[in-house]
């Protein structure tokens, strides 16, 4: 199939349609609304289920119900809406039913604004809902990657009976760029051995997140953790750019990673030996790969559109052995490549030490700037 000019939100929606999604439930919220609007047209014309719910609470619980039948189900929202969905996400995780979610992040906290941000990292990667659970979190940096990750997300969710969250942001949702859509898969109603779709010809089943007996709940928690170890061993995804001879590395995901790549290219043109390490799966995080890479670097620069939420993970994983600088923009402000390029040049001065926290140094530095 040829490349077409596609808007991110629509590309993600159509990728899910072509992956054979049986049902979509959502609620309008900027900057993800085009995703819902696309589904409002596509799902009924294909004879599949679409409901614009009364709220994100309604939407996520419709997703929960439909997923219990074994159907392929999708929902999408943006940061404040996702906050509202976290109750349902915890229940879905506790019930072990596969679901695919899209979070097109915007500026916050609170109502914030509708500009791109990455401040849902902790809310999504480290849970957000109550209890011990781990969604698989995939962060695309361009529209083709958003399509490819969404297209394969349903198989991944079903393989592990897990939640898969596509973590995008307002920039990826709203931008248009050329990308190729995958072929249409047949839509089928699956009847997995755990699903509740009517007990014709078999023992009846029930699906719940209740384990009233604490030892049973603990056993379920051990099951979740062991499955997570399996996911960590098999499903790590990341991309490296200009890393072969790099002495310095930028670590950034999603849109930050995309902008950082421009900065890295510019720095390379000036002869600076810098590369980019871009985690694609934020959960499971490419821990071993990052740690091994960091060992070889003189210093790292972590770039995010938040106050350093992934930075904390990077510092843990590298055990603070490699000096790290942090550069973040917040509240819907997107960094320019030149800003990151200047930060890369800081790395080359060789005076970075982890004796003070990178976030403290960043705050002091930003204080001078603003």
């Amino acid at each position: 199939m040829a490349k077409e000019l596609l808007k991110g939100n629509i590309a993600i929606a159509e990728a899910a349609v072509r992956a054979g999604v049986n049902a979509y439930f959502g609620y309008p919220i900027t900057p993800q609304t085009e995703l819902l609007e696309w589904m409002a047209v596509r799902m009924p014309e294909l004879g599949r289920a679409f409901v614009q719910a009364e709220s994100e609470l309604g939407a996520i619980n419709m997703v929960y119900g439909a997923a219990c039948t074994g159907a392929r189900v999708l929902s999408s929202s943006s940061s404040p809406g996702v906050s509202l969905m976290l109750e349902g996400i915890s229940y879905i995780a506790g019930t072990e039913v596969p679901v695919v979610m899209v979070d097109v992040m915007r500026g916050g906290p609170g109502l914030g604004n509708i500009a791109p941000a990455q401040a849902d990292y902790n809310q999504i990667v480290h849970g957000g809902g109550h209890g011990d659970y781990h969604p698989i979190v995939l962060a695309p940096a361009n529209i083709q990657e958003a399509i490819d990750l969404t297209y394969s997300a349903f198989d991944l969710a079903e393989k592990y009976r897990s939640i898969v969250i596509i973590l995008a942001d307002g920039s990826l949702g709203q931008m248009m760029e050329p990308a190729e859509l995958p072929p249409m898969k047949p839509v089928i109603m699956r009847q997995p051995e755990w699903a509740t779709y009517g007990a014709e010809g078999r023992e009846r089943r029930f699906l719940s997140s209740i384990y009233l007996d604490p030892p049973e709940e603990e056993e379920a928690n051990f099951r979740f953790e062991r499955r997570w170890q399996e996911i960590k061993a098999n499903e790590v995804q990341f991309k490296e750019y200009f890393m072969e001879d790099a002495k310095y590395a930028v670590v950034a995901f999603g849109t930050s990673g995309r902008i950082a790549l421009s900065a890295v290219r510019n720095a390379r043109a000036k002869g600076i030996p810098v590369g980019l390490f871009r985690p694609v799966s934020l959960a499971p995080f490419p821990e071993k790969e990052l740690a091994a890479m960091a060992e070889k670097m003189e210093s790292l620069l972590v770039v995010e559109m938040n106050a350093g939420q992934m930075l904390d993970d990077v510092m843990n994983i590298t055990a603070r052995r490699t000096p790290i600088n942090f550069y973040g923009r917040m509240g819907g402000v997107v960094p320019m490549p030149e800003e990151i390029e200047a930060e890369i040049e800081e790395l080359t001065k060789g005076n970075i030490s982890n004796e003070t926290h990178p976030r403290d140094r960043w705050l002091a530095h930003m204080g001078k700037m603003n």
Binding site: E54, A67, C68, T69, G198, A199
Partner: protein
């Protein structure tokens, strides 16, 4: 001893759709009656293997153990949304929620109103016992004015706590509602009427006539601090005047069945 034969005839048995296990309901609680009526109707309609239930949070949280058909268990108040998800991907199945008044009329008011407004083709069994049973008898949206509960210890003061919600009347105003009625479980005559209403509610769904709900006035002897018999009298004398029994919405296509 002289020999004689007795011809045995089973006149009362457990419905197939009711599991053969002990339930956790308090002695005298009318949840058991409501469960049995639903199970009898599902059996009579031969829908046991075609039904998916959605349990709620509250005393009926374990309903999925007591009904012998497929079940899922919803977060507090969200059963109508979950049932919507099930029904939209399996439109030929019978989908029911079983909810109490705290679940349906307080935390889940958004979901129930939206499901009824959409004309969601599901059946809701709504057990109204005028308090939160599971957590130990706190004030519910349905608690009567002046009624003492553990969180309205001097009686519900409408000046500060507002007024009880008549859910059936409210939902009946929505065009998506196909069958919305209120019945009571306080004596055998009313129990029979309740069963007939439950049958009509599931018939509404089977015929695709929209949202159906049967509100069942029920007792909570433990939390009301009454014997079961006192509680049944209290329901009749206090709840029925505030929550009149009746048919609030009946789809015209159902009228010949009444």
């Amino acid at each position: 001893m002289s020999e004689y034969t007795v011809e045995e005839q089973v006149v009362y048995d457990r419905p197939d759709s009711l599991s053969s296990i002990q339930n956790h309901y308090c002695p005298g609680c009318t949840h058991g009656t409501a469960h049995r009526l639903v199970a009898e109707v599902i059996d009579e309609m031969n829908e046991k293997s075609n039904t998916i239930g959605v349990a709620s949070v509250g005393c009926s949280v374990f309903a999925y153990n007591y009904f012998d058909f497929d079940f899922v268990q919803a977060p507090h108040g969200r059963a109508p949304a979950m049932a919507t998800g099930v029904k939209r991907v399996l439109p030929n199945r019978i989908v029911m929620t079983y909810q109490g008044d705290g679940d349906l009329a307080s935390i889940g008011m958004g979901e129930i109103v939206a499901a009824a407004a959409r004309g969601e083709n599901i059946t809701v069994i709504f057990v109204n016992n005028a308090n939160y049973g599971m957590t130990g008898g706190q004030m519910a949206p349905t608690t009567l004015p002046g009624q003492r509960t553990s969180s309205s210890p001097t009686g519900r003061d409408v000046e500060t706590n507002g007024f009880p919600i008549r859910t059936a009347e409210m939902l009946a105003t929505l065009d998506g509602a196909g069958y919305v009625v209120r019945r009571s479980l306080h004596d055998p005559k009313h129990v029979r009427q309740a069963k007939k209403a439950i049958r009509l509610a599931f018939e509404t769904q089977r015929q695709g006539l929209g949202f159906s709900m049967v509100e069942l006035l029920s007792i909570c002897p433990t939390n009301w601090g009454k014997t079961p018999l006192q509680a049944l009298h209290w329901l009749e004398e206090n709840m029925i005047p505030y929550y009149p029994l009746g048919d609030y919405k009946v789809h015209p296509a159902l009228s010949q069945k009444i």
